[in-house]
């Protein structure tokens, strides 16, 4: 049985762990609010961008000559997957969920005997994937140095993707990230960005007759690369809000667990202290009786 001293030490250590998790929770809560605000502020841009592209692509009559970013290369041999994860740990199932989702997709691709290429954004994703998919990872990116998520970072990733696409290094590009639903729920997402999924295009009413200057094709070929960056930026914003939310709930439950543990240990400590006192008393009484 643990001695009184041991128990005392354990209680102290659990209490200090609790202090840390509590502080982390507070920090995550503050960061979450900011991240959420940023994600909301960024929404109009990507929504508008999407709308314009939908309008444009439904206006294109000649599907054959549509830009490759929209129509694809006509093949589906090489898949590029961009896995967006966090740079820091201690955020519950946040990274694991993305990786799980991505691995299902990776397996599907290797079952179909297609080539897989992976770009990881965020160091945690790389750490988890490197064991199994080391040969497939073509690039790893980390934004540890930038304090906030900014568009320039997303643009860098976007440009790299487009460069690779133009060099015909892949045919299909999919991004994986966590969509922020609320603090407790984050939904891992897979989203195909090249070629752009056009199945969501609804047949718009005919009053959307736009005038284009210059013509549709040129606008579209100018707009699509921008859209890639925008989509990645959106994913990064959602991801950061999700990360903080996930960390907050993880740290909240850690704090609660530590509290429960302190309670249990305190009871055990009091019991053994009482037992020691009782034992001493019995010894004294029985000593007195024997006289």
């Amino acid at each position: 049985m643990a001695t009184l001293d041991d128990l005392k030490k354990r209680i102290a250590s659990v209490k200090s762990t609790q202090k840390i998790t509590k502080a982390m929770k507070m920090v995550a809560a503050a960061k979450l609010r900011r991240a959420q605000e940023n994600a909301e502020k960024g929404r109009p841009y990507s929504e508008k961008m999407n709308n314009i592209i939908l309008n444009l692509s439904s206006g294109i009559s000649d599907k054959e000559n549509a830009p490759k970013l929209l129509s694809g290369t006509g093949e589906e041999k090489i898949h590029l997957c961009i896995v967006l994860t966090s740079d820091r740990g201690l955020c519950g199932g946040f990274n694991t969920n993305i990786i799980k989702k991505a691995k299902v997709y990776f397996k599907k691709i290797s079952d179909e005997e297609k080539t897989l290429k992976i770009i990881t954004v965020g160091s945690k994703g790389y750490d988890q994937l490197k064991r199994v998919y080391r040969d497939s990872i073509v690039e790893r990116i980390s934004f540890k140095d930038s304090k906030t998520i900014n568009y320039l970072d997303a643009e860098k990733v976007g440009k790299m993707i487009i460069e690779n696409f133009e060099k015909k290094k892949f045919d299909v590009c999919t991004i994986f990230y966590n969509k922020f639903k609320n603090v407790i729920t984050q939904i891992p997402q897979e989203q195909q960005i090249i070629p752009l999924k056009t199945s969501e295009i609804e047949e718009n009413s005919s009053d959307d007759n736009y005038e284009f200057e210059p013509d549709e094709d040129e606008i579209l070929s100018n707009l699509l690369p921008k859209n890639i960056s925008t989509q990645i930026f959106k994913a990064m914003l959602e991801n950061s809000a999700s990360e903080q939310g996930s960390r907050m709930s993880a740290m909240d439950s850690a704090t609660r667990n530590a509290g429960e543990m302190v309670d249990k240990l305190t009871i055990e400590y009091n019991r053994s202290r009482q037992a020691a006192i009782t034992k001493e008393l019995i010894e004294i009484i029985s000593g007195a009786e024997s006289l």
Binding site: N38, K41, G42, P44, Y45, S46, K48, M49, N51, I52, N55, L56, N150, Y151, A154, E155, D208, N209, Y210, E211, F212, E213, P214, I219, N222, L223, K226, T230, F233
Partner: protein, 130 residues
């Protein structure tokens, strides 16, 4: 009948500007400056570097943009841009910095004619601002 329409400028990080009482907007469209009044036909165009002028009852506002897309539909003008500055707030240092960068870019040989054309435009605009 009112002659006002709504303009909204968004950049990737936030909604930059939203105004309801705009009477005229001049945007630096790809094929030249374009003035937009109420009940303009629906149009999509992209922007080159230049100045967006927004006229409203409260006066005139000028913004410098580097690139972007503009969409006008149902008396709603949306401008999507990744780089926009209010001319009032932009200082000389920033302008010269942008100018220097643009000049360097235009000197390199790896750019296409179209990029070169856009960069030259940008240099001109920056020079007038400076």
């Amino acid at each position: 009948m009112s002659e006002e329409f709504k303009v909204e400028i968004v950049n990737p990080e936030k909604s930059f500007l939203s105004k309801e009482d705009v009477t005229e907007v001049v945007v630096p469209a790809f094929e030249g400056e374009m003035g937009i009044l109420k009940d303009h036909i629906s149009i999509i165009s992209f922007l080159k570097s230049g100045v967006i002028k927004i006229f409203s009852k409260s006066g005139e506002e000028n913004y410098y943009v580097e690139d972007g897309i503009v969409e006008f539909k149902n008396n709603n003008l949306s401008v999507l841009t990744s780089s926009i500055f209010n001319i009032k707030d932009i200082d000389k240092d920033k302008i010269s910095e942008l100018l220097k960068q643009a000049e360097e870019n235009s000197k390199s040989n790896e750019i296409t004619d179209q990029d070169k054309y856009l960069l030259d435009q940008k240099i001109d605009v920056l020079k007038t601002l400076n």
